[in-house]
Amino acid sequence: MQGVLLAALDDWFPFLVYALFAAAIPGSMLLFSFALSTRRKERAPRAQRMPFESGVSTGPPKLQRFTVSFYLTAMLFIVFDIEIVFLYPVAVVLDVVGPFALAEFGFFIAILAIAYVYVWKRGALEWR
């Protein structure tokens, strides 16, 4: 058990380093932009923080609703995303199993393609 864990960690160690960097870069950007900023925002009067110091107030920000297209796209994305998750493990063993795996893979992709053709022809990918 212990050995397996350590082996897994060995495999994933580069990923860990990568993840640390990936977190550190945007984190440092945020941190330094606060730490090195010359303007003390909280002390500035409100007018100075506005894009234009004078002029007509734009009023409270309007509540902007997203169109339903975002929602539809996200939903379709989930469907195809899950298909990818299912394809990945089969793709890994394709060469071991051979033609049979390819045939089953093809069936899965064919069904996926039907969904894709349908979605496309129905215009669900067009922005409204």
Partner: protein, 193 residues
């Protein structure tokens, strides 16, 4: 995977592997703090962002349990797609900050406390059992366990039909989503005309 794996992780630490221990502690702390953050933020967008952190740190714990494929799926599907869906829904609804606890102690709050207490009790029982060596069955984990190849093998043998049926269920889901989702703007357009 049974629940004693974190304990095993600790054992590994006592054996001198500090790195596993560090990763486990960091992931567990991130999991807890992001979970608390999801609940505490009043802005639903921040809650959704914390949820991504929550799901990602959970994926790290899955990795430590050698559930590589589950960890990957967790990141790709949950953190990648489902939370994006949450964010879009929030945006669709306007994403206004919601005032929590507005109604005082409601039935929902009471139910949440009861459920949390039940889970806490469960955790305590499991830890106690593990400490008393009651959960002594060691997991039979081979090197390939939980790896994508192992799962792909199962998809093509024992669960072939389930694998293919999943594609059909997803096809139906896509068709249904398009039917119900794309019909609505047409209707509102017709209403505006």
């Amino acid at each position: 995977m049974p629940l004693e794996a974190p304990v095993e992780v600790m054992l590994a630490a006592s054996a001198g592997n500090v790195l596993v221990w560090v990763v486990w502690v960091v992931a567990a702390l991130a999991l807890l703090s992001s979970g608390i953050a999801v609940v505490l933020f009043t802005n639903p967008f921040y809650s959704a962002l914390s949820l991504i952190g929550n799901l990602a740190s959970l994926a790290v714990l899955y990795l430590l349990l050698s559930g590589e494929f589950v960890a990957g799926a967790q990141v790709i599907v949950y953190a990648g797609a489902i939370v994006i869906m949450f964010v879009f829904v929030l945006a669709y609804l306007g994403g206004r900050a919601d005032a929590p606890w507005a109604g005082g102690p409601t039935l929902q709050a009471a139910a949440a406390v009861v459920a949390a207490a039940a889970i806490a009790l469960e955790v305590i029982v499991v830890i106690a059992l593990a400490a008393g060596d009651q959960l002594s069955d060691t997991a039979e984990v081979t090197g390939a366990f939980g790896s994508p190849a192992e799962i792909g093998d199962l998809f093509l043998s024992d669960h072939l039909l389930a694998f293919e049926a999943t594609s059909i269920v997803l096809l139906v889901a896509a068709v249904g989503g398009v039917i119900l989702g794309s019909a609505m703007p047409q209707r509102s357009k017709a209403g505006a005309d």
